[in-house]
């Protein structure tokens, strides 16, 4: 088991390195394909009065005139030892380790900004995850047990709608109805940190949670239903019933447990993805999380921020994958040997 975990850890690190190289390559190569030079890239950060020498100094100080692999190595190294940038401003700029990049537009290191926004994204992701897990799975189980009934058809119809409707539409419509029409929920952007007031925190996130959960619940309901239908047809379920077990025990202990295995897998990945930034939900509800940070960075062409976001998000996905792999190995020993 230890060897398996070490193997998976090594694979996770390798994945992150590959992702970072590809991302860095995109940000390095695309501007150059469009005709950008080290100087033209540096000219964004030096102000309008800079002369050609100052621009060249900045290009050199930022390392923009170095080859791709040297620049990548500098970036990678900064994660462990930090980095000093020169040529931009009268004094050198220090980005302390772990340095995921330095925004010369915002004039601050990227990582503290991302960490500052992580609680918002985590609040959104975990709250919504609990709701969609409870509603999605229970709806799926009931639909499977009442297959063909009106409830089943209605639930699957709603689930199809939930999957199909984009969150920027359901989000805005629900804001108009529940926040501005009925005044039941908080308006967009009304986020209260949990440490300030837990009640307000939950109330301010209620609508984003429900809207986001609607999207995911739908998929989980369909997945659970399919799994339950398959499981409940198995021989061992018949055996359990033949033993005289109560139907509730048959469903929960024998049927649902087996059907939940793929749900656990996808749940881990979904939460990992959301922790890396629920871009559309945060933008729709004006929540200052990591996803909103990424959108703002893209809109302002702040490449160090975008790069930092991509690596951070990729990290969450890779960690989620790792956890899922380990959990799988615990559930099914055959995986360890594969």
């Amino acid at each position: 088991m230890v060897a398996y975990i070490i193997r998976r850890l090594f694979g996770a690190v390798l994945t992150l390195v590959v992702v970072s190289m590809i991302t860095f390559g995109i940000f390095y190569l695309v501007p150059r394909w469009a005709g950008g030079t080290a100087e033209s890239l540096a000219s964004r950060y030096v102000g309008r009065t800079a002369n050609a020498q100052q621009v060249a100094d900045a290009a050199h100080g930022l390392g923009l005139d170095k080859p791709f692999f040297v620049q990548y190595w500098d970036w990678l190294q900064a994660i462990f030892v930090g980095r000093d940038f020169t040529g931009v401003g009268p004094a050198p700029v220090h980005c302390p380790a772990p340095c995921l990049g330095y925004s010369f537009i915002g004039r601050n290191p990227v990582l503290p900004d991302i960490l500052d926004r992580l609680p918002v994204t985590a609040s959104l992701a975990f709250g919504a995850a609990i709701i969609w897990l409870i509603f999605g799975v229970s709806t799926g189980v009931l639909s499977a047990l009442k297959r063909g009934s009106i409830f089943d058809r209605a639930a699957m119809g709603v689930a199809l709608g939930g999957v199909s409707l984009p969150i920027f539409w359901t989000g805005l419509v629900s804001l108009v109805i529940f926040s501005y029409g009925l005044h039941w929920t908080k308006p967009g952007g009304a986020y209260t940190p949990i440490e300030v007031n837990p009640g307000e925190w939950a109330y301010s996130l209620l609508l984003p949670w429900i809207t986001l959960a609607l999207l995911f619940s739908a998929a989980y309901a369909r997945l659970t239903r399919a799994g339950m239908l398959e499981t409940m047809g198995e021989d061992y379920i018949r055996t359990a019933r033949a033993k005289g077990l109560r139907e509730r025990t048959v469903v929960t202990k024998h049927g649902l447990r087996a059907a939940l295995t793929p749900i656990a897998t996808i749940f881990g990945l979904d939460v990992g993805l959301l922790l890396g930034g629920a871009v559309l939900t945060e933008s729709t509800f004006s929540l200052p999380g990591i996803g909103k940070y990424a959108i703002d960075a893209i809109n302002t062409n702040d490449m160090p921020k975008v790069m930092g976001f991509v690596i951070f998000s990729a990290g969450f996905v890779v960690i989620a994958n790792l956890i899922v792999d380990v959990v799988y190995a615990v559930i099914d020993p055959r995986v360890r040997l594969a």
Partner: protein, 585 residues
């Protein structure tokens, strides 16, 4: 160019990365005589007059914006909304009067007792500060604090965002600023005593009072200056101070108890504070203002398309809307250095053949887009004259007969081919390029659309002379807003050929005429306001005669007033609601 927010299209993150009116003024039936305004809700009720005048104090004003601007540091900002907002927590030497209509384009003293006193033919300007001015910590504000504020704003390698007027016009003699020229005194600024500040220029400039209203003249205490981090702890000299500041998220302003009303005849400081949210969803901002849970969209660029039809279509909402004209021109630069466009007759053909109505429609129509422009200077800028240099034809749809005659004279009777450049992320520019493509095709001028990324449009493509000439960019969509409402503030950066740089970056893409450059010099040196305004008007006409600019629309937008606000009016200087005057009812 003082910048304004441009609503961007939401950008999705790649899956691969994730895996890894009707117009008309409002009725003044219920006019408040004390404020000269109206309390009757009507379309345009706050445009040119004060809506809901009141002196009631208290309450917290709620502001929001969809995307962050450059900085709240007064020495590092170039957004109109930011200059409007900075008056809450800083005071500059002069300021625009707080009043509706043309009043808001007039200057008055702020920190200074009055406007500057010129001497030496306009090369020296002296200001006298008011007595009793204090920072938020109670420290007296002296002329040295103002000098330091201006000096630090010269440091463009650190404070990159602000305008460069002081860099360009002060007689700095090699001085670069307090960070780069450590220990040196700024030779262009004298402070003979704590209440007097004298600016020495490298050339006469009659409009220096406009420079003195830039937020960079706000005082900054040397000991509190943290360079690029100063934006996180701006020291207040105005009626409000920062209670909190979170970069990219928002900030809160509360009353500054060291601000003394008796030293400030321009501010009423009605609300107790301001909550500013940065990064709110643009559509949600509109919904919240309509609902009454938000007071102002400080971007000031008008409601989003999703709310526009609702606002204009519902009488109760339309009565809460205004349709101000901005001092902004959306236009097309005609490159006189490529192909047939080197010949003025071919450029004239473009002017004649363009359908201005489709240009206007592409920008959003008469209300949300703007008014069809006849020249460069917008109507609210002194010196404006309604020009008719090139016929727009019946109903502004183009004069095809004259266009064909011009093509004949150009030696291109069947038309010619060229490219039209625009910013890819701006749907209105794309629509305009397509509209011009269709309207010019009527006389055989064939345009090929060339989109470029917004961020590099001026630095690498349209703004770089070698690129635009080598790639046959004959027409280039452009947009320009006034730094302030006078000829210099609007025209100097787009008609003076000497601002064009080989390395790119200038917004002047097509105007480089020695005669016009000389006219600009004359206008800059003129200290008589009326004569100066007339000179800028003449420059506007002369540029049009060169047919190097095709004017499109003077921008307008539809904005909505909150149900809670008092003293609402459009400030002509900023082209948006005046943040300083508003209160909560």
């Amino acid at each position: 160019m003082k910048r304004r927010m441009v609503t961007g299209v939401a950008v999705g993150v790649a899956a691969a990365l994730a895996l890894a009116a009707c117009g008309g003024g409002g009725t003044d039936s219920n006019t408040d005589s004390s404020g000269g305004g109206t309390t009757t809700a009507a379309f345009d009720a706050a445009n040119g007059k004060v809506f809901n005048p009141s002196d009631k104090k208290g309450g917290t004003m709620k502001f929001a914006i969809s995307s962050d601007w450059d900085s709240v540091d007064p020495g590092d900002t170039y957004y109109g909304l930011s200059w409007n907002l900075a008056r809450l927590y800083t005071r500059s030497l002069t300021m625009f009067k707080v009043g509706a209509g043309s009043t808001s384009s007039e200057l008055t003293g702020d920190l200074a007792e009055g406007l500057g006193v010129p001497s030496d033919g306009g090369k020296t300007w002296t200001y006298k500060l008011r007595q009793g001015l204090k920072f938020e910590d109670g420290t007296p504000i002296t002329s040295k604090d103002v000098e330091y504020g201006v000096s630090r704003s010269l440091e463009k390698s650190a404070l990159v965002n602000g305008p460069t007027y002081f860099n360009d016009f002060l007689d700095l003699k090699g001085y670069k600023g307090p960070y780069s020229s450590k220990g040196q005194d700024n030779p262009a600024i004298d402070t003979p005593d704590d209440l007097t500040i004298v600016f020495h220029l490298n050339k006469p400039f009659g409009g220096f009072d406009y420079f003195a209203q830039i937020p960079a003249t706000a005082p900054v205490p040397v000991a509190k200056d943290t360079g690029v981090k100063y934006k996180e702890h701006v020291v207040s000299s105005g009626p409000y101070k920062f209670e909190s500041y979170e970069a990219g998220k928002g900030f809160k302003l509360v009353r500054n108890d060291q601000w003394d009303q008796s030293t400030d005849p321009n501010r009423k400081a009605l609300p107790d504070g301001y909550d500013v949210t940065i990064g709110a969803n643009a559509d949600d901002i509109d919904n919240q203002i309509i609902d009454g849970s938000l007071d102002v969209d400080i971007a000031g660029t008008g409601v989003q398309p999703a709310a526009l039809s609702r606002v204009l279509g519902q009488p109760d909402l339309k009565a809460r809307a205004d349709n101000p004209l901005s001092a902004r021109l959306n236009y097309t630069s005609i490159n006189p250095n490529v192909g047939p466009l080197k010949n003025i007759e071919c450029r004239k053909a473009v002017e004649y053949a363009a359908d201005r109505t489709t240009y206007q429609t592409a920008y959003g129509g008469p209300e949300a887009g703007g008014e069809i422009a006849t020249g460069l200077l917008p109507p609210q800028i002194p010196g404006f004259q309604k020009l008719d240099v090139w016929s727009m034809g019946a109903d502004n749809k183009g004069d095809l007969d004259k266009a064909k005659a011009a093509l004949q004279a150009c030696g291109q009777p069947n038309g010619f081919e060229t490219n039209i450049a625009y910013r890819a992320e701006r749907p209105k520019e794309k629509a305009t390029a397509e509209a011009l493509q269709q309207s010019l095709a009527r006389v055989g001028i064939k345009l090929t659309l060339k989109p470029f990324p917004t961020g590099d449009y001026f630095s690498l493509y349209a703004g770089k002379p070698s690129y635009r000439d080598q790639n046959n960019l004959g027409l280039m969509l452009n947009s320009w807003g006034a730094d302030w409402n006078d000829g210099f503030g609007f025209l100097s950066q787009i008609v003076d050929g000497r601002v064009i740089r080989d390395t790119g970056g200038s917004s002047n893409l097509s105007v480089n005429v020695p005669e016009i450059n000389t006219m600009v010099d004359q206008a800059i040196a003129e200290t008589d306001t009326a004569k100066r305004d007339a000179l800028w008007g003449a420059i506007d006409k002369r540029v049009m005669e060169e047919a190097v600019i095709l004017p499109g629309v003077w921008a307008k937008q539809v904005t909505v007033r909150s149900t809670r606000t008092t003293n609402v009016f459009v400030n002509d200087a900023y082209g948006m609601y005046d943040f300083l005057a508003m209160g909560i009812q």
